[in-house]
Symmetry: C2
Subunit: 251 residues, 2 copies
Amino acid sequence: MPVSEIMSESSQSKDPTSFLSRRLSRSASPCEQCAVRAQSFCSVLEGQEFARLSAIVTGRAFARHQTIVQEGDRADWLFNIVAGAVKLYRTMPDGRVQIVGFLSEGDFVGIPVSDIYALSAEALTPVELCVFPRRSFDRLLAECPALEHRLFDLARTEVAAARDHMLLLGRKSARERLATFLLNELRQPEAIDIFLPMSRIEIADYLGLTMETVSRTLSALTRQGLIALTGSDRVRLMQIDRLRALAAGED
Amino acid sequence: MPVSEIMSESSQSKDPTSFLSRRLSRSASPCEQCAVRAQSFCSVLEGQEFARLSAIVTGRAFARHQTIVQEGDRADWLFNIVAGAVKLYRTMPDGRVQIVGFLSEGDFVGIPVSDIYALSAEALTPVELCVFPRRSFDRLLAECPALEHRLFDLARTEVAAARDHMLLLGRKSARERLATFLLNELRQPEAIDIFLPMSRIEIADYLGLTMETVSRTLSALTRQGLIALTGSDRVRLMQIDRLRALAAGED
DNA sequence: CGATCTGTTGAAGTGAGTCAATAGTGGTGG
DNA sequence: CCACCACTATTGACTCACTTCAACAGATCG
């Protein structure tokens, strides 16, 4: 079954309970032994409020390339990523795509703006999600300042990240975009190895480039010894300082 | 006195009480008769809390081209725009600029992310601001869920706007960028006339283009009858539907 | 009424895009 | 286990939208 069919099927079903996503069996209090709780928004909740969140959550799994939500659909569900990686993107009628972010374990999808999703979300890898019904979540949010405080914090961080990305898209060269991207993908500050769960096209759609330019630029950076490609989805940063300078536009 | 000098002076003084900004004399309760209160975040406050906000606010005026805050400075002040227009921007070491937003009456500057401003702000026109000391404001915020709720709302709206702008910067042509920009500058949905308080360079720095491309593209849109330039800072949208199609990429 | 800034227009250059061929890569079934 | 297939990534040749460099025109203001 080609991906396009999966996607069109998914676009028809507005509900994440669709046959495409697998409901995960969980205990009555699934949140208590959650592996990503510590790094997720839900860690601000305790006691009663935590119990309320646990009560409305459902676990759900998506396969690689499955659409989780589609822009334009009714925003009835909110998500938290338990495992895997997700892309968030906007599309244009002629097929142009702008990916606005990649998310992974512990990230919250859908600080809601309106009743309609402004973005699509798709699984880059097999993904496990916590799903919250919008209504119940909003009710909890209204009664729980600590939760709102935490989401406000997340929203501010997202605004800052979005503005950094605007600078990248508006003013950086392809080399600078790739350097910035690779440095951002470093999770631990000490690491030098990166795993890229996304394809070249997805990197291109994130950086406002084409697949070919991404590939050529990575090859050039390799030739110049700044990085090493240790597999098509693995990169080692060989000269972090020069990459930092490049990313900042000092080169 | 050239602009560059004003800016470098301003960058030395981290405090908006600097000689460059004029302190506005105000009554003991300046907020009560505020013209922009209805459209500002402060409208959510009442009674006691409103009084507390009034107590910490100071009025301040900036001339055209004055720097209000500079990225990298300590984020000790928050602002609300009472009159005039402001640009928010990020810069690169070699002088490249990306404007991330234009703000006007009623807009709040500085949903704070860290202790350091991530952006610079400069007056496009003569500007009057409410200035709040960060500490006092944060204290009020911590004790007033309604305020936080409102700012959360603003932050969410900003995230959505930022993502729209990423699509523009990453994937739209110069024509599409200008069409999108002009439609966004329409304040009332029924209007067709736009006043642009910013220069061609500033439009370019917002849209990720050069001044020349902005000028040429506006000329082309005029030649094609989509807009009319009724002064270098005034535009009339002659064919809104075609502009909308263009902005959406359906053309 | 010149000086200065901002905006427009023209000509030439270029970084990234497009189109196309080739080379890896991973999954599947014989 | 390998051979094939389908897909993804790389590389090359060429094109083009936007930039750069430069001249000119209009506005604004002492």
